[in-house]
């Protein structure tokens, strides 16, 4: 299924809009994008997920990866997360390390 992503960096905040399905085949692209964002010294990551319809465990791994790569104390915020995607994240317990709005 199709997956698209678009990043916008403003100041120390990287905003990435994801659409479609984040799974094992699309996760490496997002990891690359996160690495780029980290290279641009961002301290805050905002993921716009209102168009993301599915997230597999590989997708949750992207969040864990971002959490590890960003400087300590950086905030990861998920905006507009659909219930099914939020459930996947909650199941793993990683919702403790991020902010879901």
């Amino acid at each position: 299924m199709s997956f698209t992503m678009k990043m916008n960096v403003e100041g120390d905040t990287a905003t990435i809009r994801l659409a479609g399905e984040l799974d094992g085949s699309s996760a490496p692209d997002l990891n690359d994008l996160v690495t780029q964002a980290v290279g641009r010294q961002v301290g805050r990551l905002v993921l716009l997920l209102d168009e993301l319809t599915y997230m597999s465990s590989a997708g949750v791994r992207c969040l864990v990866f971002a959490h590890q790569k960003l400087p300590r104390g950086s905030q990861i915020t998920l905006v507009g997360t659909k219930p099914e995607v939020a459930e996947t994240i909650r199941l793993t317990g990683f919702d403790r390390s991020i902010v879901m709005r």
């Binding site: 094992g24 791994r61 864990v64 199941l91 793993t92 990683f94 403790r96």
Partner: protein
């Protein structure tokens, strides 16, 4: 100055042929470097002319050539005989260009030029190199698959009054899913694990091997709760603060110690050593007392296993802590459920509920519960029913995720009351725990 790279057979990197070639190239104005194939793993030179010893054999020559493929182009590649003309002939038949001794500067220059011209027209070596590297890759994956199979139990322990069945269906050659069933505390408890390392493929498979080993080794080598570290004992206190009450402690502690130590210890190990790699595993780890049917468990961020009661009621066992390896400071509580005669426990990985059909719909938990509700109380039967339902649902669509299932059922009769687990030979040999203090009951 043109550059030439000479790749030699490691066993004899300065053979007379190599030295003669080196001298002739230098005399003709080349800057020459001699390397063995291993040198190319880390360095990536871009020579004008690449000379490879035919003594490496066709497969290794093709792999070496492959390393020089940049943006779809390679340098001029020429084979030379070390001393074995038979090996050279094989390369030439396969499409390599070649030079032979004596290596005289003028002749070599002229050969190199005509090789270059021919090279512009030929793609045989590139195709061959691609094929060779594909074959190499497939061979490595087959080896990985065989090794991974060794990280699953060869056979399942057998218990009087219980049935156990498990199935493992990877989506690719190797998987991040696994299950494990083994006896602990000198055969008095049965440990059951179903786990799913995030993501798929080789990375997940490497972490599967690590996590399975840490869990099993720790559980097999932990005795009573008194023996475990302070952290684990503290988690146990917290865990038993809950609805079970303190009176449950002596009854459950026999299996609870190994359980907590295995999960907390594995999480701590992963957090200390592998947090940067961002791999984690969701898991259900249960420890059964086969006499009483009491099952203590930790669900680390895993899809809730389903208990199907003899009367048809179903209970889900939701997470009692986060996925293992995802956070440094995870704490886990213990869950407890009792399996009576005719009850069944079904644990699975997300490949079941996230299986997709051609219309891209999800199999889903409600459908799974429906299937379980309609299929008797035999472990093998439950697995077959779920497997059949998933296959029918998926139809012609490709299996996209690893699928692992495990079922534990208690026979309806009440005739076996005080029987210990009867191990397979392999498992009892692996279980060198000495007799410890008597069962607290």
């Amino acid at each position: 100055m043109p550059t030439a790279l000479v790749v030699t057979e490691p066993a004899d990197p300065t053979s007379p042929a190599v030295l003669e070639l080196d001298g002739a190239l230098r005399a003709e104005g080349f800057e020459v470097e001699l390397v063995v194939p291993d040198d190319l793993v880390l360095s990536h030179p871009h020579p004008d002319l690449l000379l490879i010893s035919a003594a490496l054999g066709l497969q290794r020559m093709a792999l070496v050539s492959q390393r020089f493929l940049v943006d779809g182009r390679m340098p001029t590649i020429v084979a030379f005989p070390d001393d074995d003309l038979g090996a050279l002939e094989e390369c030439v038949r396969a499409g390599f260009d070649y030079v032979t001794r004596p290596f005289l500067p003028g002749l070599l220059r002229s050969r190199a030029n005509s090789c270059w011209e021919r090279w512009q027209l030929s793609t045989a070596v590139e195709e061959m190199a691609a094929l060779a590297s594909l074959r190499e890759y497939e061979r490595e994956l087959r080896i990985a698959r065989d090794i991974q199979a060794g990280f699953l139990p060869e056979s399942l322990p057998r218990l009087d009054g219980w049935e156990i069945a498990a199935s493992f269906r990877p989506a690719r050659q190797v998987a991040g899913d696994f299950y494990d069933v083994f006896t602990i505390v000198n055969g008095r408890r049965l440990a059951l694990v179903v786990a799913d390392v995030c993501d798929k493929g080789v990375g997940a498979a490497l972490f599967m091997a690590l996590i399975r080993t840490l869990l099993r080794h720790t559980a097999e080598h932990t005795g009573y709760v008194q023996d475990v570290g302070d952290d684990a004992a503290a988690s146990l206190d917290r865990a038993l603060d809950g609805p079970m009450g303190e009176s449950a402690l002596p009854l459950l502690s026999l299996g609870a110690g190994p359980l907590i130590q295995a999960v907390v210890g594995t999480n701590r190990y992963m957090a200390r050593n592998h947090l940067k790699q961002a791999y984690f595993a969701t898991m259900f780890f249960g420890v059964l007392d086969p006499c009483s049917g009491d099952l203590v468990y930790i669900n680390g961020g895993h899809n809730p296993p389903i208990v199907v009661r003899a009367d048809g009621r179903q209970t889900l066992l939701p997470p009692t802590g986060p996925a293992v390896g995802i956070l440094a400071d995870s704490s886990y509580t213990l869950g407890h459920v009792q399996l009576g005669p005719g009850d069944a426990l079904f644990a699975y990985t997300d490949g079941v509920v996230e299986a997709r059909n051609a219309a891209h719909g999800l199999f889903g938990t409600p459908r799974l519960q429906e299937v379980l509700g309609a299929s008797g109380a035999h472990a093998e039967g439950l697995l077959a029913a779920v497997d059949g339902a998933v296959r029918t649902f998926v139809g012609a669509a490709e299996q996209s995720d690893d699928i692992t299932t495990l079922a534990l059922t208690r026979n309806p009769s009440r005739t076996q009351r005080r029987h210990s687990p009867r191990n397979t030979a392999r498992n009892s040999a692996r279980n060198p725990l000495p007799n410890q203090a008597p069962d607290p009951r």
